[in-house]
C-alpha cells in the first residue's frame, strides 16, 4: 500500500524542478503532487485582540515578584559575574554533598573544554529512576541529547557537559516524563508554573561544578 513519490516528483514538490519536465510516465504522479500543494492553506490567522493585555498583565506580575527582582539584581551588569558563579557553584557543590553517599569520591572535572566553555558536572540522586536526562537552554530542552549515567554509588546519576560561558537554565528529566529542578541550585519560574534551575558559568571556572 505504501506508495512513495518518485524522487523526480519530490523535486517538483520542493520547487526544484518544473512539473513539465517530468517524463510522461510520471505525469499522473506529478498531478497528485500538484493537488497536494494546491490544498495547502496559507490564509492568515488572527489571534485575539486581548492577547496583548493578558501577556502584559502576567509580565507586570512577574516583574513585581521578589524572585524576579532578585534575579534581575543578580544578572544586572553591575553585579560581578563571580557573585552569580559562586552562588551557582555553591548550590551544585551542595548537591554533590547531599547526593553522594559517605565515602564516595567526588571527582574533580578537568580544565575548561574550550576558551569560551567550561566542563560542568551535573549530579542527581534518584534512587528509583530507570533513566535520567538533562534538558536545558544549552541543548534546546531536548532530553534525548544528554542522558545521565549511573555513577558508582547506587542512585547517583551524573553527566559532564561543556557549557559556554554565561547563564543557563536546566532541569532533570526522570524516566522520560518527570521534569524536576535541581534541588540545590537556584531556580526560576519557567512561565508555565514549573521551576527551572539556573547555572552560571564564568571564564576561568574550570575546576568544579
Amino acid at each position: 500500500m505504501n506508495e512513495t513519490f518518485d524522487p523526480q516528483v519530490k523535486q517538483v514538490l520542493d520547487g526544484e524542478r518544473a512539473s513539465s519536465e517530468l517524463p510522461p510516465s510520471l505525469r499522473a504522479e506529478g498531478e497528485a503532487a500538484r493537488r497536494l500543494l494546491a490544498a495547502v492553506d496559507r490564509s492568515e490567522v488572527a489571534l485575539s485582540p486581548h492577547l496583548d493585555t493578558r501577556v502584559m498583565a502576567v509580565v507586570r506580575r512577574h516583574a513585581a515578584s521578589p524572585r524576579y527582582r532578585a534575579w534581575r539584581w543578580l544578572t544586572a551588569p553591575s553585579v560581578p559575574p563571580w557573585v552569580v558563579g559562586a552562588l551557582a557553584a555553591a548550590a551544585i557543590a551542595l548537591v554533590l554533598i547531599r547526593s553522594v553517599p559517605d565515602g564516595a569520591p567526588v571527582v574533580a572535572v578537568p580544565a575548561p573544554a574550550a576558551p569560551e566553555s567550561v566542563y560542568v558536572k551535573f549530579v542527581l540522586f534518584a534512587a528509583d529512576a530507570r533513566r535520567v536526562a538533562l534538558a536545558g537552554t544549552f541543548n534546546r530542552w531536548d532530553p534525548a541529547t544528554t542522558p545521565l549515567t549511573r555513577a558508582g554509588a547506587p542512585g547517583v546519576w551524573t553527566v559532564t557537559v561543556a557549557l559556554p560561558v554565561g547563564q543557563h537554565q536546566y532541569a532533570f528529566v526522570v524516566d522520560g516524563q518527570q521534569w524536576i529542578p535541581d534541588p540545590a541550585a537556584p531556580s526560576i519560574d519557567d512561565g508555565f508554573g514549573r521551576k527551572n534551575s539556573v547555572v552560571s558559568v564564568s571564564a576561568g571556572q574550570g575546576r568544579i561544578l
Binding site: 497536494l36 490544498a39 496583548d52 526560576i188
Partner: protein, 187 residues
C-alpha cells in the same frame, strides 16, 4: 538631512533597543515586542498545533517565557529568531502531550450558501490535508509548514531551526510519502 532627522524621530525602536530597555527595568517597553511578534508566527503555530486556540495559548506562553528569560537573549537584535525557538519548543511540548487528534479543530466549514462548489472542494481538500498533517511526526509537520505554508527555502528553514538542509530534506520527503498515503486513505 532634515528628512533623515524626521525619519529618525518617527522610526520604531529596534528589537535590540527594546530588549535592552526592558532588561534595564522598563517593563512596559515589552508591550512593543508583544505587539510586534504576537501575530508574526500565529499561522505557523496554528498549522503545527492544528487549532487557533492552541496556537493562541502557545504564543501567549512563549511571550511570557521570553520575558522571563530575556536576560538569556544573547543577540537582542535577533529577538525574532530567539522568540521563534521558544515558541517552537512550546509547540513541540504541546504536541507531545496526550492530545486526541479528534479534538483538534481543522479548517472551519464554510457556512455561506453562496459558496461555490469549487470553493467547497478546495476547502474540503484543505481540511483533509490539515487532518493528514496531524498524523506526521512534529518534526515532519514543522518542516512542511515552514516550507509550504510559510514558503521558506530549505536554507532559511535550516537557519531558523538549526538543522542541516540534508536532514530537513529527508524529513520533508518522508512527509510527502506519508501524506500521499494518508490522503489516499481518505478518498
Amino acid at each position: 538631512m532634515a528628512h533623515e532627522d524626521e525619519g529618525e524621530r518617527t522610526a520604531e525602536p529596534s528589537d535590540g533597543t527594546v530588549v535592552r530597555a526592558v532588561l534595564q527595568g522598563d517593563v512596559e517597553q515589552y508591550a512593543v515586542l508583544v505587539r510586534r511578534y504576537r501575530d508574526r508566527y500565529a499561522r505557523y503555530a496554528t498549522r503545527v498545533l492544528g487549532s487557533v486556540d492552541a496556537a493562541e495559548d502557545a504564543v501567549q506562553d512563549a511571550l511570557i517565557r521570553a520575558f522571563d528569560q530575556l536576560a538569556q537573549c544573547r543577540e537582542p537584535e535577533n529577538f525574532a529568531g530567539w522568540f521563534f525557538l521558544i515558541l517552537r519548543n512550546r509547540c513541540f511540548a504541546e504536541r507531545r502531550r496526550d492530545r486526541r487528534i479528534d479534538d483538534i479543530e481543522t479548517v472551519p466549514e464554510p457556512q455561506a450558501p453562496e459558496v461555490s462548489q469549487t470553493r467547497l472542494e478546495q476547502v474540503e481538500r484543505s481540511r483533509a490535508l490539515q487532518r493528514a498533517l496531524l498524523h506526521l511526526t512534529p518534526e515532519q509537520r514543522e518542516v512542511f509548514v515552514l516550507k509550504h505554508v510559510e514558503e521558506l527555502s530549505y536554507d532559511e528553514i535550516a537557519a531558523r531551526v538549526g538543522t542541516g538542509v540534508p536532514a530537513l530534506k529527508m524529513r520533508m520527503h518522508r512527509a510527502y510519502d506519508r501524506l500521499r498515503d494518508l490522503l489516499q486513505e481518505t478518498r
